[in-house]
């Protein structure tokens, strides 16, 4: 489809550590259309962050390497690009990122204005004066109050929620086609979380960019995303439209995950929650076949031998022998 801003096909990323090789991203495929928000849901170690870093060309070096598959941004292949090209043409301009920790994402010794102006200067080749003026506009756009005054302030004078707004302003300053947000709301309180999600919606409406939203929080994903891809141990196990997925999760892992989260408004009567037995596998020592098999209630012999491919089934994709 030509309306897809991003197409990822069979992406494989390995981390070469002293103790062995971690298949952090294992044959992952997904696409994002313009104006669409794709949620990438997974637990810690599921490979969701490594997928994001692969797209940004920011894998930890020298340990991380893309060993297979393709990443196409507007039809342009990114997986083979070198670092210099990535820095000059892609990062901050075509793909931008909002990261998790609002406390460490900004440099404490530079003013907010100069940090927001930096990507503008770099990619639009503006003068310092115009870049700073544009930075003020950007801060206004993300609803930082009295931006003309605030550009001369330093990060420590901003609260966590405001810093995330500043980071959002930096990320969208050059109108990227794809925005990657890695757990941007996790460090924030719920009342601030809501405000940031509104802002992300607004920024996306204005720019029509695609948004890859990486999170472990099923509630946040439900509230923000159009489609959702669920990752487990480096692989995508289920991809579906958000309403379909939450209404009828198909993969046993997705099902278990949704059933195990307490919800407001649903009476539990002090009853027990459903819980998935066992623990996620050691990424250095993934089991043969389906990685979820040791914890699965539908497991059959075949699951221990072969890993199930992601198969299209009526508008959603599922990687499970039993459900198919």
């Amino acid at each position: 489809m030509s309306t897809n801003v991003l197409e990822v096909q069979d992406l494989q990323t390995h981390l070469h550590l002293r103790r062995g090789v971690v298949k952090a991203v294992n044959q992952v495929s997904f696409s994002i259309a313009y104006g669409e928000t794709l949620g990438l849901i997974g637990e810690s170690g599921s490979g969701k962050t490594m997928t994001g870093l692969s797209l940004l060309g920011l894998l930890p070096r020298p340990a991380g390497r893309i060993v297979g598959g393709s990443i196409r941004l507007n039809g342009r292949e990114l997986s083979q690009l070198n670092q210099a090209t990535y820095a000059a043409q892609i990062r901050g301009k075509e793909i931008a990122m909002i990261s998790q920790d609002p406390m460490t994402s900004l440099n404490p010794v530079f003013s907010i204005g100069s940090q927001v102006a930096a990507p503008i200067r770099r990619h639009r080749h503006d003068t310092d004066q115009t870049a700073l003026a544009l930075a003020t506009e950007e801060l206004h756009r993300v609803r930082v109050p009295s931006p003309a005054l605030r550009i001369s302030h330093f990060p420590h004078q901003f609260s966590g929620g405001m810093r995330q707004r500043v980071i959002a302003a930096m990320a969208t300053a050059c109108r990227p086609n794809l925005l990657i947000a890695d757990e941007p709301t996790s460090a924030l309180d719920v009342t601030i979380q809501v405000q940031l999600m509104d802002l992300l919606d607004q920024l996306q409406d204005e720019s029509g960019a695609g948004l890859l939203f990486i999170t472990h929080d099923l509630g946040v994903a439900a509230s923000l995303c159009d489609r959702v891809a669920v990752m487990y141990a480096g692989s995508v196990v289920e991809t579906a439209a958000v309403t379909d997925l939450y209404a009828a999760p198909a993969h046993p892992y997705t099902r278990g995950l949704l059933a195990s989260v307490p919800r407001i408004g649903i009476k539990t009567e002090r009853g027990r929650l459903f819980s998935i037995p066992g623990t996620p596998p050691d990424p250095l020592d993934l089991p043969m076949g389906c990685a979820f098999a040791p914890r699965c209630d539908l497991v059959k012999d075949r699951c221990h031998r072969e890993s199930p491919p992601l198969i299209d089934k009526g508008g959603r994709e599922i990687a499970c022998f039993e459900v198919q």
Binding site: M162, Q195, G219, Y246, R263
Partner: protein, 313 residues
């Protein structure tokens, strides 16, 4: 069981006074799960430290099981234990699990075979295998570590366990396991829990009564069911409606409150919540509202008292 009266904890940083806890009353009943909920900076962690004797109180009094608590002596130490949020920081990486678990009993001078017996019993209770005692913490996953932390809290057979965000650092698929374990232990051993959390869905699921804190004060407290069914304080309402539900058909409700939590260094005058409150009246900026009983719930709000809030709803 545990009663706190007008507890205040103020401390100084850089010459400014932080009013972390500013006049809190709490009564925890034996056998229940009492939840303390609020956003970061609301003072719930400081209150936890006060109850554990890890932070000094500026004013107020505490009593445990009817006895006033002035010094945190060993007798009290046996009766109140804690499980912290981060299972990586709560276990000393250089000690074997059996040492970690036995330490509280050693400190209270128990005999060797008493400790060994209790160790086996408690490890079975939390679902740890018997050989786990010979291993070091790094050989366990986050969920298993939290089981060890819970086992340690159980070693002295306490009456009250303070659960400080006990599952929020764990993987989503592990959380339910630990939560169910905590509930089973409560049913089996008749322990009282004081649950400190920011996750409202968890609080609703796991607690009997709840107190909502905002900037060092309790704004609303009562039975969990009542408060979640019909929250009265504007902050409680905003907090509950802001929780993102794992259900895409529920629209995001974001228009309730604006702005961010003010600083505890210079809290707003009057009601601490008034700068963010959509219903504020003049009085809110001047006088601090007391906790007033309304049916089974206690609320601290001038507007509710005057009956005007229903119009605003």
């Amino acid at each position: 069981m545990l009663n706190l009266r007008a507890i205040k904890c103020h401390f100084q940083t850089n010459g400014q006074i932080v009013r972390a806890v500013d006049g809190v009353n709490l009564d925890i009943v034996k056998g229940e799960t009492f939840a303390l909920v609020g956003e970061s900076g609301c003072g719930k962690s400081t209150l936890a430290k006060i109850i554990l004797g890890l932070a000094p109180i500026t004013a107020g009094s505490m009593s445990f099981a009817g006895e006033p608590l002035i010094k945190f002596n060993k007798r009290f130490r046996r009766r109140v234990q804690v499980v912290f949020q981060d299972p990586y920081s709560s276990l000393n990486p250089r000690l074997k699990v059996s040492t970690i678990l036995s330490e509280p009993m050693w400190a209270h001078g128990f005999k060797r075979d008493e400790v060994t017996q209790r160790l086996e019993l408690v490890m079975a209770l939390v679902g740890l295998q018997t050989n786990a005692g010979n291993l070091y913490p790094h050989e366990f996953s986050g969920g298993q570590r939290q089981r060890i932390a819970i086992a340690r809290a159980l070693m002295l057979a306490p009456e009250l366990i303070l659960l400080d965000e006990p599952i929020s650092a764990l993987d989503v698929s592990i959380r339910a396991q630990i939560l169910n374990l905590l509930q089973d232990l409560q049913d089996e051993l008749n322990i009282t829990y004081l649950l400190i959390a920011h996750d409202l869905a968890l609080v609703q699921h796991a607690s009997d009564r709840v107190a909502v804190m905002y900037l060092g004060r309790i704004v609303e407290t009562g039975p969990t069911e009542k408060i979640f069914a019909s929250p009265q304080h504007p902050y409680t309402q905003a907090l509950i409606s802001a929780v993102p539900e794992p259900d895409p058909t529920i629209a995001r409700n974001s228009n309730l409150i604006r702005g961010e939590v003010a600083s505890a260094i210079e809290p707003p005058t009057g009601c601490h919540f008034h700068p963010r409150c959509p219903h504020k009246i003049d009085r809110c900026t001047k006088e601090s509202p007391p906790l007033v009983a309304r049916e089974q719930v206690q609320v601290s709000c001038w507007v509710i008292g005057s009956g005007d809030l229903n119009v605003a709803k």
